[in-house]
Structure formats: structure tokens, C-alpha cells
């Protein structure tokens, strides 16, 4: 057993790093879908914007100023984009998910094309900041320091988001909106503000995930679709509107994509959707889905 663990230690560690990144990305999608009942297919495009902001401000050179500036700019950009998307999708409330999907997918396509025109189609590398751009020895295996840091950042963010949602009155309001929107409105709360806030916050996290994911996945065209798919799978596995679900879903998919592929390389292409199918059969609402969520 210890031999097996030693052999696959790097893969497990890597699963946590990927899981951290997926959590930061997916928690926004989950809250927006679960609470606002808006299927935001533009979520991947927000990640893409973050990735290219990271590329723009680091300029391919490893630097803390560049990286932190990129994080701040991406966060701001995400907030704004979230507010705009929240306003744009408001008239579509009650018209079903297809209209929302069309609108947000259209926005995503436009964003991807604009980025392609601005930055070209070459793959761009976003270097990790100094000190994290090297490998460290973990139990005798070389492992990129940046990915270790990513696990830490993911853990901190998970705790912060969980505390806000579970332990504050604002969080209570958000949870209440997820489980019963009409009731919250009846209590005299302007749920439009809560909605806009959640949309902005979720979008900000997606853009921030783009910067954070830069040193792992780089910046390239088509990345938006890849991460959107992963985020959707995470949300379906974890259940809608649940922070805990997004965290567990992200960690599961992180391990499936890392440890799973290492153990079963021949089935690498099927593992992701195999896991999804398994969860859908066992728990159709996701592992932590609420019973009254927007199904």
C-alpha cells in the first residue's frame, strides 16, 4: 500500500491542484445556476479573459507585480462582466434555460473571437511568479511549486466562501434565495441586488481562476470551452447552488483527471464522463444538490 501511495503520490497531489482550480472556477457557476436559475455558458469565456489578462500583464516574464496586477484587473473585469450579464439575463427570467443558453453562448463566442483577433491564435505561456516558477522536491519527486501554492489558494478560498455562505447573514440570504426565491421576495428583500451580487461574485472568481490557471493551462483559443465543460461536470456532480457540492465535485474531478488518468491511461478519454454518468445514476441531483433547486 505504501509502495502504491509513493508511486502515485504526485498524481494525487496534482489532483488536488487541479481540483482547487476547478473549485474556484465552478463555485460561481454553481451559485449562479442554483440561485438565479441562470445557465451561464459565458462562464468559460470569463476564465479565458482572466487567462489573457494574465498573459497581458505578465508579458511572458515571471514577476509578482505583473501577476498581482493581473489578478486585480481580472477580478475587476469579472465583477463588471458579472453585473452586465446579470442585467442582460434579467429579461429572460422565466423564459427557460434555452434562451439564457443562447444569449450567454453568443456572448461567449463574441468574447472568444475578439480575444482571438486581439491576441492571435498562438498558444501563449503565462509564467508563474518568481519563487514559484521552479520545481520543489516532494517525497523525492519533483513537483512544480506553483501547483502546491494553488492548492493553498484553493483551500483558503474554499474556507472563505464556505464561511461567508454558511456563517454570515448575507450567506443566509443567499442560501434562502437558492431554496425559495419567491419567499425571500415576499419578506421584502430586493432579490435583484442579491442576484446581481452573486452573479458579479461568481464571475469574478471565474476571471480570477483564469489568471491563477495561466501557469498551468496557459492562454489559448478554445480554452473557454474546455474549462466550461469541466465546470459543468463539477456542478452536475456536486449539485446546484451548493458550495460544499462544488468543492467535493471539484476535488473528485481533479482526482479523476489526474489519478484516474495515471492509473487507467487507456480509458483517459472516458473517465470524466464515466464519473459523471455514475453520479447521475446514483444521485441524479448531484452529491449535495438541494431538493428544491432549479432542476
Amino acid at each position: 500500500m505504501t509502495g502504491w501511495l509513493a508511486e502515485n503520490f504526485v498524481s494525487i497531489l496534482n489532483g488536488f491542484a487541479i481540483g482547487s482550480l476547478l473549485f474556484i472556477l465552478a463555485v460561481g457557476l454553481s451559485l449562479v445556476f442554483g440561485m438565479l436559475d441562470v445557465l451561464n455558458l459565458g462562464h468559460g469565456a470569463l476564465y479565458l479573459i482572466g487567462a489573457y489578462v494574465g498573459y497581458q500583464f505578465t508579458g511572458g516574464v515571471s514577476s509578482w507585480t505583473g501577476f498581482l496586477t493581473a489578478l486585480a484587473v481580472a477580478a475587476l473585469f469579472g465583477l463588471l462582466a458579472g453585473l452586465i450579464l446579470s442585467v442582460a439575463t434579467r429579461p429572460l427570467v422565466g423564459r427557460g434555460h434555452l434562451d439564457q443558453a443562447l444569449l450567454t453562448l453568443g456572448v461567449a463566442l463574441v468574447v472568444a473571437e475578439v480575444i482571438s483577433i486581439m491576441f492571435g491564435d498562438d498558444v501563449q505561456n503565462v509564467p508563474a511568479p518568481p519563487g514559484l516558477d521552479d520545481s520543489v522536491q516532494v517525497l523525492g519527486n519533483a513537483y512544480p511549486a506553483y501547483r502546491l501554492a494553488l492548492i493553498g489558494v484553493g483551500a483558503v478560498l474554499a474556507i472563505v466562501v464556505w464561511l461567508v455562505i454558511e456563517k454570515t447573514s448575507l450567506g443566509a440570504l443567499i442560501r434562502a434565495s437558492v431554496s425559495d426565491r419567491e419567499m425571500v421576495s415576499c419578506l421584502g428583500v430586493d432579490d435583484r441586488k442579491v442576484k446581481a451580487g452573486v452573479f458579479a461574485f461568481g464571475s469574478m472568481l471565474a476571471a480570477v481562476a483564469g489568471v491563477l490557471g495561466g501557469p498551468v493551462y496557459g492562454a489559448r483559443t478554445g480554452l473557454d470551452e474546455t474549462v466550461l465543460l469541466l465546470a459543468l461536470v463539477v456542478v452536475v456532480i456536486g449539485g446546484l447552488g451548493s458550495v460544499r457540492g462544488a468543492l467535493i465535485g471539484a476535488l473528485v474531478i481533479g482526482q479523476v483527471e489526474s489519478l484516474g488518468r495515471a492509473l487507467l491511461p487507456d480509458f483517459a478519454s472516458f473517465l470524466l464522463f464515466g464519473a459523471l454518468a455514475l453520479v447521475l445514476v446514483v444521485a441524479p441531483r448531484g452529491l449535495f444538490g438541494s431538493k428544491v433547486g432549479a432542476a
Binding site: G120, V123, P265, A268, S269
Partner: protein, 403 residues
């Protein structure tokens, strides 16, 4: 209509083909009718359909291919074999679903005389039938699947690029000579080009007495993180890794290979696309020291290449790639063939291409058509720090390889 055609052909003949002038003129007036209108429309003009990706993952290649083609025309007053060239560009897209209609459109709607381009092998294979039915020559400027000029060969489809097997076979022989301790670990994306690379490498390397330490085919297009596959290498005891990756996957692979500490312990070898063109810039220092085999490098020491690199750099501000050379060479062979061909029919151009013999004046060095695909020198290249940019320095010539 026939009279001016004849006189222009005769004038053309006086420039270069004095002895053949009469024959060429006759050939055209006789052959012009059945070839179907387009050839006779201008007389001294040839309409070329350039099929290159302008959208999707291959877009950067499409840019290089167009630049190479345009550069040759600019250097030769816009003429090939004496004909004024009109280039019609069609978007190949990512796969045969867009590539094949693009070719059909050029043939039926634009009525081109011949076609150049095609990046994707599936698009090339998918259009072979349409090309054969239209009897128009297609010069493939990239697609490397062996079948294009192998099983699916037809007299009108020529290739001025490479086959997937060439670089892998050359590197297989090279590594068999080196005998890295512990054998070689193989990795490639799980699609036709990756699989052909595996087969060719094993044939050369195992045939030369080498051992395979392990191998992995990674899902094509959906693998961003290679760590799960890289983790098999240290345990296998391999003394070297040989891979085929290109584009975005090449960037991910090379940077992660360095990040996970394998670069310093297990030397990385590859087919040349691993470090070709813009991907090399994105890989940065992680690529230093990687050795690859390819039919071209900007560092090849010959006069044609020196001129080519200088002209291309002046025009576009970056070093040329093997892809740019492939369209430049497509234009070169067509220039030579059209000067010899009796008329612009597919049969005449095919015959002329078949009769070219050794093609000198190419930046990649001398090569010949062997079974309608190049028999050419494979170069052993190593990524080194050049003058401000990373370059693929030529370490050695691995010999000539065909199909």
C-alpha cells in the same frame, strides 16, 4: 479566341523553352478544349486555389503557409512557369467537414486550374476522390498521413511536405545508434499522426536493437495536463523519451516535462514539430536542449535557405517555419513544372511534376519526388539560445528518407 492563346504561348516559349515552343503551342491548342474552359480563359494566367486553415486550432499554420506561398510569388513577379498567378484562398478549417467542401468549392465554383495546401490529413484523404474526378493537380503543403501518397494514391495528388513516418523513422535509427540506457519511453496523441509516428519509430528503433521502456497515447485535443502520463516515465527506468506533439499540446508537454523535473534526468527527443515555429517561443527555456528530427531548420547552411530566411524575416518580422517552406517549395515545384507542362490540364502538370528530377534551390536542401512525396534529408536539430531568440540548431544530417 484560340489565336491569342497560341501567340502568348509562343512568346512564353521564346523566353525559356525555345526548343519546345512549337510543341507547347500545339499541345495547348489541342488539349485546351477538353480540359474544360478555365485553362483557356487567360492563356498566360493560372488560377490556383490555396486551401489553408483560417479558423480553428491550425490557424497559426495557415498564416505560415500563406506567407510562404506569397513570398515565393513576390520574389518571382507573381508568376509560376511564366503564367500570371491568381490565388484564390479557401478556408480549410479544422477537419474534413470543412476542408473537403472548401476543395470542392474551388474546383466547381471557382474553377481553379490547380490546388495547393491542406493541413489536415483527413481532409487530404477525403478530397482525393474529388481531385481524381476533376483531374486537377493538388500539391499538398502539409498533411503527412502516409496513405495520401500510399494506399489512396492517385496521379493528381502530389505532396511537397513530409510523411509522418520520416522524422520518427530517422530519430528511431538515431536513438538505436545511441542506445540510451533503460530504453526509450514513447508518447504521442491518440490519432492517426501519433499512431503512424509510433509505428515508424518502433520499426526503426526496435529493428535497430533498441528496447521500449513504456508508451502512452494521450487523448487528442482534450489533454491539457500531461502529469498523469508523465508520471509513468521515472518508474519505467527509461533513458530517453521520444514524442510527437505539435501546436498547443507541444507547448504544454514541453513546459510540463521541465516542471516535473524530467528534463534534467530523461533527455527529450521528438519529431521536429515539437519545437517548430511559434510554439518554441511559448515554451521558452523549458525547450533548451531538446533534440528533434525534421526536414527543415532555419539554421540549414545553404545559399537558398540564407536568402529565404532573410527575405521571410524582412517581410514578416519572425523566422520562417517548416510550414512556410512547404508552400514556398510547392510554388517552386509548380514553377518548374508549369514551365515544362504542355498545358494547364491535370495530366500535363502531373507529367511535368513526375519529370522534375532533383529539385535544387529549396531552402531545405536538395530533394526529389519519390512516389509523389518528397525523398529528403532529415536533420537532427537541437534547441539552442540564438541571437535573442531560441533556434533549432542543426547538429547533424540523419540521411535521406522517403515515404
Amino acid at each position: 479566341m484560340a489565336q491569342p492563346v497560341l501567340s502568348r504561348r509562343a512568346a512564353l516559349g521564346m523566353v525559356g523553352l525555345a526548343g519546345l515552343a512549337t510543341a507547347a503551342g500545339c499541345g495547348n491548342s489541342v488539349g485546351g478544349g477538353p480540359s474544360g474552359g478555365s485553362g483557356s480563359s487567360g492563356g498566360g494566367a493560372v488560377k490556383v486555389g490555396l486551401v489553408i486553415p483560417q479558423d480553428g486550432v491550425y490557424t497559426p499554420l495557415g498564416v505560415d503557409l500563406r506567407n510562404g506561398w506569397q513570398l515565393y510569388l513576390d520574389q518571382h513577379e507573381g508568376k509560376l512557369g511564366g503564367y500570371e498567378v491568381e490565388t484564390v484562398i479557401a478556408d480549410e478549417g479544422e477537419g474534413p467537414d470543412t476542408g473537403v467542401p472548401a476543395i470542392q468549392g474551388l474546383i466547381t465554383r471557382d474553377n481553379v486550374d490547380l490546388l495547393v495546401g491542406i493541413v489536415n490529413s483527413a481532409s487530404a484523404l477525403g478530397s482525393v476522390e474529388a481531385i481524381a474526378a476533376a483531374k486537377k493537380v493538388l500539391v499538398i503543403a502539409n498533411a503527412g498521413a502516409i496513405a495520401v501518397t500510399g494506399q489512396a494514391r492517385n496521379p493528381y495528388v502530389w505532396r511537397a511536405s513530409f510523411t509522418n513516418a520520416q522524422a520518427a523513422f530517422a530519430m528511431g535509427e538515431h536513438l538505436a545508434g545511441q542506445q540510451p540506457e533503460g530504453g526509450v519511453y514513447l508518447m504521442a496523441p491518440d490519432y492517426a499522426a501519433g499512431q503512424e509516428t509510433f509505428v515508424a519509430f518502433k520499426e526503426a528503433y526496435v529493428g535497430g536493437g533498441g528496447t521500449i521502456a513504456g508508451e502512452a497515447l494521450t487523448p487528442f485535443g482534450t489533454t491539457q495536463d500531461f502529469q498523469p502520463f508523465l508520471s509513468g516515465i521515472p518508474g519505467s527506468g527509461a533513458g530517453a523519451t521520444f514524442v510527437f506533439y505539435s501546436g498547443g499540446e507541444a507547448v504544454d508537454y514541453v513546459t510540463q516535462y521541465a516542471e516535473f523535473g524530467l528534463k534534467d534526468t530523461v533527455p527529450l527527443y521528438g519529431s521536429g514539430f515539437l519545437t517548430e515555429g511559434s510554439v518554441l517561443e511559448a515554451q521558452g527555456e523549458a525547450a533548451l536542449g531538446i533534440q528533434t528530427a525534421l526536414h527543415y531548420s532555419t539554421e540549414i547552411d545553404n545559399a537558398a535557405n540564407a536568402d529565404f530566411v532573410a527575405a521571410y524575416s524582412d517581410a514578416h518580422g519572425v523566422l520562417p517555419t517548416c510550414f512556410a517552406v512547404q508552400t514556398w517549395d510547392s510554388a517552386l515545384v509548380l514553377d518548374l513544372a508549369l514551365a515544362e507542362a504542355a498545358d494547364l490540364s491535370g495530366d500535363a502538370i502531373s507529367d511535368a511534376l513526375a519529370g522534375l528530377g532533383e529539385i535544387s534551390g529549396s531552402p531545405r536542401g536538395p530533394w526529389v519526388f519519390d512516389g509523389q512525396t518528397p525523398k529528403q534529408i532529415e536533420y537532427l536539430r537541437e534547441v539552442q539560445q540564438g541571437d535573442g531568440v531560441l533556434i533549432n540548431a542543426v547538429v547533424d544530417e540523419l540521411g535521406e528518407y522517403a515515404q
